[in-house]
């Protein structure tokens, strides 16, 4: 029991983030007019903050399934690095590693990376608790949002705010600044020139192409 209490305290910061953010997702999802069950399903099987916010935007735009898959994949690519970063520990674990890998969100990764012990059960419990906070937040947002009848219009700005803050966060912590300039240039160009319905796929594709080209050029001249 003592152990469980300290686990709760350990994951408290994540809970304080995931419950409100999950609620925002739930409230956002309500605006779509789709049955709340799907929001809960999303939080259970996707378990990604920015990814699920993007999902709401894509559902609202009636995006195709392929576009959703590609966009989600590219957006969450940074999680690639999380798994690689924990590879040494993961290789030693048993079946629980699959759930741990599934639950590698930004916050879970940060928590595991700064953990003093490399314990499979501890990691598993942390991932599980974070997942539960996220699901609870979603449910609270879905039903609490419906009960408190205020005008939620404009709340979809939280999506923009999330991307802005995450970009800034990445910018501060990353040494290579070129990707941000590339993203900025392509973003502005896409907003101005691309048709809104195709904008995302075109912009993301262009990003990949430009970054690969840029990387090849860098390799050539270094």
């Amino acid at each position: 029991m003592q152990k469980d209490r300290s686990l709760f305290i350990l994951t408290l910061p994540v809970m304080l983030g995931y419950i409100p953010l999950g609620m925002t997702f739930g409230i956002l999802f309500n605006e779509l007019g789709i049955h709340p069950f799907y929001a809960i399903l999303a939080s259970v099987i996707i378990f990604a903050g920015a990814g699920q916010f993007l999902l709401v935007a894509l559902l609202s735009a009636k995006a195709g399934v392929i576009e959703v898959a590609i966009s989600s994949f590219l957006l969450n690519l940074r999680h690639f690095f999380y798994t690689i970063s924990l590879m040494e520990s993961l290789k030693k674990f048993g079946w629980k590693k699959h759930y741990i890998i599934f639950g590698l969100t930004d916050e879970t990764f940060a928590m595991l990376k700064t953990s003093s012990k490399e314990d499979e059960n501890l990691f598993f419990k942390i991932a599980l608790l974070n997942h539960l906070y996220w699901i609870i937040g979603t449910v609270l947002g879905l039903y609490g949002g419906k009960m408190i009848d205020i005008d939620y219009s404009g709340i979809e700005f939280s999506l923009t705010a999330l991307f802005v803050v995450l970009s800034l966060n990445l910018y501060i912590h990353q040494k290579q600044k070129e990707p941000f300039v590339i993203g900025l240039a392509i973003g502005v160009a896409a907003l101005v020139f691309f048709p809104p319905s195709q904008m995302l796929v075109m912009a993301l594709t262009l990003c990949v192409v430009v970054m690969v080209a840029q990387m090849q050029l860098k390799r050539k001249y270094e």
């Binding site: 700005f157 991307f163 990353q174």
Partner: protein, 102 residues
């Protein structure tokens, strides 16, 4: 929006998200990733994240409103995050501002 479409969309997103987390485990269980690969997957997300800011603004009527509400709220989000380092605070307050302005 049919329920089936919503279901397919969510499953597709779940699958794509999970792939980003499990793929490195499959690919690099036996060997280490090369430097160029690491460079790519480390840097593409940053570009994507910035592009997504603009994507989220695609329905703004720039000609009518000049995007003032959006720009002010984005400025607030940036300032709040820089000052407080809290993702949540920045998002909540800037969204509230935006809701008040519109």
């Amino acid at each position: 929006m049919s329920d089936m479409h919503a279901l397919l969309t969510i499953v597709a997103a779940a699958f794509a998200t999970y792939i980003t987390r499990i793929l490195p485990y499959w690919l690099f269980r036996k060997k280490k990733p090369g430097a160029t690969f690491l460079y790519l997957e480390k840097n593409i997300p940053a570009a994507i994240m910035v592009v997504l800011i603009f994507y989220s603004l695609k329905d703004v009527q720039w000609a009518h409103t000049y995007g003032i509400a959006e720009l002010l709220s984005i400025a607030l989000a940036l300032t709040l995050y820089l000052k407080s380092k809290s993702v949540l605070l920045a998002i909540v307050l800037s969204t509230l501002l935006y809701m008040m302005l519109t």
